[in-house]
Amino acid sequence: MKLSDVVIGVSMTMLAVLISYLMVYGGLGPIASYSLRPLATSFLNYTYNPWNAVYSALSPEAVTAIVWDFRGLDTYFETSVLFIAIVGLVALFRGAGIAQGISSRGLSIIVKTSTKIVAPLILVAGASLAFHGHLSPGGGFQGGSFMAVAMVLIAITFSIEFLHQKGLSLSTLLTIRCVGLLAIAVVSVYLLIKAMLLGGSAYIFQNMIRMNSSYSMPSWFIDRPLGGTLFFFNLSESIAVIGGLTLGAILLLLREEELRAVIGGEERE
């Protein structure tokens, strides 16, 4: 018995005990100590304050309110950086496509069956993270990357030709990505355009009513807070991320022999 085996065994046991204990402990009540409560109160004063909507984002989830409302332009440029990376990847792999005719059978039936059970669960978990991003921890990028992991799992288990046959070709994924980014841009200037057409004043990335602007995004859905732009931003961002990350992974998964014929070129002396 080697030393590394012992170390691995002890570490894994400790981690399993810790995770199980943490689940019980976290389920019994909040981990935070009482001395930290005033900090949370001061944040919630600006993120969820229905009595004074002028200074509030009307979202109980402080992180999403800060990321998409207080510093929305910053997050928009972060999304653009990811988009530029995807554009670079697409430019590098230009001309490459999923070859038809070479039927790949994917992995064994055991892996396929367990993926059929697990992948929908991951998709639903990612979708709930994205749709409830303004109410609980989570958000567009988190939900989108969860769903992208499920898509890549399907692509590896059932082969990339399977996804292509189901209609998710490379250009479709790029279109999904662009539609998500376009939706973010439209939501960010929606109130500005509305104010231009109807008169009055508004701002870029405006969420609720402000000091000298009476326009506001919808803040309640029946009896739940909607957070105005936050819900739409999360939705669009998750669509953009699922398209972009799946496209990147599928491009990297393309077989090298087929790629050489397209992008290899000739050896230069």
Binding site: S11, I19, I31, Q142
Partner: protein
């Protein structure tokens, strides 16, 4: 200090120790596929520490990126090059 407030700090300390072990194993391992798995174990420990430091949003970003996408890209890289380090 009451035990109730000290406990998360102790748990974060033990998790950090486990992550150091995982990092050491990932660096030592000659089989690169196993090294990717050890790296994912280290990421899991970090996610646990983020949870103990009360940053659930970071946990939710960190999990799919470091346990899902980063090992995926590394495994593709290993598949297209060589599996064993010399």
């Amino acid at each position: 200090m009451p035990m109730n407030e000290l406990l998360p700090a102790i748990m974060a300390f033990v998790t950090a120790l486990v992550s150091i072990v995982a990092t050491w194993l990932a660096v030592q391992e000659k089989d690169l596929l196993a090294a990717v798995l050890f790296s994912a174990l280290q990421s899991t420990c970090y996610a646990l520490i983020y949870y103990l430091l009360m940053a659930p949003d970071i946990v939710l970003v960190y999990l799919p990126v470091s346990v899902g996408i980063l090992p995926l890209i590394t495994v593709i890289l290993v598949k297209k090059t060589e599996r064993y380090e010399e």
